[in-house]
């Protein structure tokens, strides 16, 4: 077991992402909902971390907080040593663009773009020249079995293909951190395994840090560290011998 509280907090820059007493409270009648309650978390570069827990345990909210998609009600988040919780929207968007990749449960590819255009989307926003973008996308597509589908729109792709494109989109910008919210939830076993293989491979080969939220035991099995959330709190952390 390895918790962040069992030792003095390491310097922020030693972590891909770190949180300190993170709270998220949604104002609601009759009582505010405390979705995340004092979470302290530290994820080292290259880790393959899985957050598990029942529905409503706050997994997705923690991911959103880590990725700067929502602001904490209390506490702080650092990405590569930079505190992002109080950054202006515009700067936060830049941080997401350059340092954070997202993979969503329902793929969420942009339907008007082709597979290739979706995958290169973040590279394009980063200002990477077209030739270099295309080269990187094709190389990755070849690695993850997406060759030949570059010009297809998402509706012409299978769920597994769409999720692999989403993973490609998340990692191509070479982020410090990829946040994946239930990435296998809509996939059959074989497709889910294949996708996890891809992510493990990227983690291993590129040192990309992954933080998952999931119910899926197959994902949990591969984790280098498993964090169980219950009622918005970290209930348990287990270090295993998975990826990372």
């Amino acid at each position: 077991m390895n918790t962040t509280s069992d030792s003095a907090a390491p310097a922020a820059s030693e972590h891909a992402v770190r949180t300190d007493d993170l709270w998220k409270i949604y104002p609601q009648d009759p009582r505010p909902v405390e979705a995340v309650r004092g979470v302290d978390l530290a994820v080292a570069p290259g880790e393959f971390v899985v957050m598990a827990g029942p529905s409503g345990s706050g997994k997705t909210t923690v991911l959103n907080l880590l990725g700067g998609l929502t602001r904490p009600s209390r506490g702080k988040v650092w990405v590569e040593g930079r505190e992002i919780s109080a950054l202006p929207d515009r700067v936060l968007a830049q941080v997401r663009l350059s340092r954070i990749g997202f993979v969503f449960q329902s793929y969420n590819l942009l339907p008007v773009l082709t597979a290739l255009e979706n995958a290169e989307f973040t590279l394009l926003l980063q200002g990477v020249p077209a030739a270099k973008r295309r080269r990187r996308v094709r190389r990755l597509f070849d690695r993850i079995g997406l060759e030949g589908i570059e010009d297809r729109r998402p509706r012409k792709l299978s769920g597994g293909q769409q999720q692999r494109v989403a993973v490609a989109r998340a990692v191509l910008g070479e982020p410090a951190l990829v946040l994946a919210d239930e990435p296998t939830a809509n996939l059959d076993s074989a497709t889910a395994d294949a996708l996890l293989d891809v992510m493990e491979q990227l983690n291993r080969d590129n040192g990309t840090t992954f933080v998952f939220s999931t119910h899926d035991p197959r994902v949990m099995e591969r984790a280098s560290r498993l964090i169980r959330l219950v009622d918005g709190r970290v209930a348990e952390e287990i270090v295993s011998g998975g990826a990372g």
Partner: protein, 420 residues
């Protein structure tokens, strides 16, 4: 922003536009219809104004007039060009006629007096004309119901005047008028023609005489006239032609004043200017209404895509870039609508221009401010109105997109992704 990034926003906007083809076609159709309506209404308005100006200037006045300074508005009998000495009328007419854009030039002399026959007498304006030149400027020669233009010793009168005093072609009428030398002119003239202009003032109180005849009758030298009326090839060029004529005749007498119709028919010019201003208001109303409809549709469209916007935000797209995509969509929608509307508007304008719509069964015929209005709904080709409408249409597309763009830019990504 790099070119690639700009390209992808435009590409996304264009593809988004066609995701719901039916909705885009309907919305673009509404905008196209607005464009066609604006162009047509403005075209009709211009056609009507053009008709009014044509009638107002082609019936009698011409589009340009030369007078002696101070002649208008009193129109004194002594206010002849060149003073009491007069001037070389032939040279004046020739100088004006030589200018580019001039179609016809007619010298005129005016007097006022009485026309009598038997026991009947009416007041009348005596108009001395050059029978050969007058048809090039006014419609008198073409509206004779009996006889024709007067020669020496003859008079032509309007139908209403002839009826009042009971004269017909071939009869004699007595004309009495104060002459320029203080005497009273009094003579018998043979009725050479009766015209019907269908404009009250001209039919019941004008009498035409040959120019030399009236000069003699009013005891004036053959060098004296009050007016030179000029018609132009294109009414809209009247101001420019007037300037050229003014320069050309300036050397003939220092007291000459050359004016376009917009000066001597000031009221008519005011109405035409008002109509022109109305065109902008019409465009504003039509496209103002369209803004609400298009904005509503675009709001709906962006609401349906809020999840995509949230994903794009999560990936690091700025709110401003998302807003820009929506504005681009509005602009592209405008361009599509404009392309369709322009084709439709051109076809309709060409058809109506060639086949004016006859409204006589609804409104009959009428005159307004001395202008005979033909009940024909016609349109005039113009560059300005379609351009104004096109700018208004594209502006409508952009303005309609502003609120949806603002909302897209401000979507909270986590809430939207969680369907909260």
């Amino acid at each position: 922003m790099s070119r690639s990034t700009r390209d992808i926003w435009w590409r996304m906007a264009w593809r988004n536009l066609w995701r719901n083809r039916r909705r885009t076609v309907l919305t673009a159709s509404a905008l196209s219809f607005g464009f066609v309506a604006a162009v047509l209404v403005m075209g009709f308005m211009n056609g009507m104004m053009q008709e009014m100006v044509s009638n107002g200037t082609e019936v009698v006045t011409g589009q340009i007039q030369i007078h002696a300074e101070g002649y208008r508005p009193e129109r004194s009998i002594h206010g002849t060009m060149g003073g009491r000495e007069g001037l070389d009328i032939s040279a004046l007419v020739a100088a004006a006629a030589a200018q580019e854009g001039v179609a016809g030039v007619a010298p005129r002399l005016y007097g006022g007096g009485l026309v009598s026959s038997g026991d009947e007498t009416v007041g009348a304006v005596f108009m001395g004309v050059d029978p050969a030149r007058e048809p090039g400027v006014s419609r008198f020669a073409s509206v004779f119901v009996e006889g024709g233009m007067p020669g020496p010793g003859e008079v032509a009168v309007g139908a209403a005047l002839a009826e009042k005093i009971g004269i017909a072609v071939g009869d004699e009428a007595v004309l009495v008028a104060p002459a320029a030398d203080g005497s009273t002119g009094n003579d018998l003239f043979v009725v050479a023609g009766i015209y019907r202009m269908d404009l009250g003032g001209f039919d019941d109180s004008y009498a035409l005489l040959e120019l030399g005849t009236l000069q003699d009758f009013l005891a004036m030298d053959r060098t004296r006239i009050h007016e030179v009326a000029i018609s132009v090839d294109r009414v809209r060029d009247a101001d420019d032609v007037a300037e050229r004529v003014a320069v050309a005749v300036a050397g003939l007498s220092p007291d000459l004043v050359t004016e376009p119709w917009s000066v001597f028919l000031g009221q008519l010019y005011f109405v035409v200017s008002l109509a022109s201003a109305m065109n902008s208001i019409v465009a504003f109303i039509i496209f103002g209404m369209a803004v609400f409809g298009v904005a509503n549709t675009m709001l709906l469209a962006t609401f349906e895509r809020r999840r995509e916007f949230a994903v794009a935000r999560a990936l690091g797209t700025s709110g401003g870039a998302l807003g820009r995509i929506v504005v681009y969509e509005g602009l592209l929608l405008g361009v599509v609508a404009l392309a369709a509307g322009a084709v439709l508007a051109f076809l309709l304008l060409a058809h109506i221009h060639a086949n004016p719509i006859d409204l006589s069964s609804f409104v009959g015929t009428y005159s307004f401010m001395g202008s005979a209005i033909r009940p024909l709904l016609t349109v005039e080709y113009s560059f300005q109105e379609p351009l104004v409408s096109a700018v208004a249409l594209l502006g409508t597309g952009i303005v309609s997109a502003l609120l949806p763009a603002w909302r897209a830019a401000r979507l909270p990504p986590a809430d939207v992704l969680a369907d909260r």
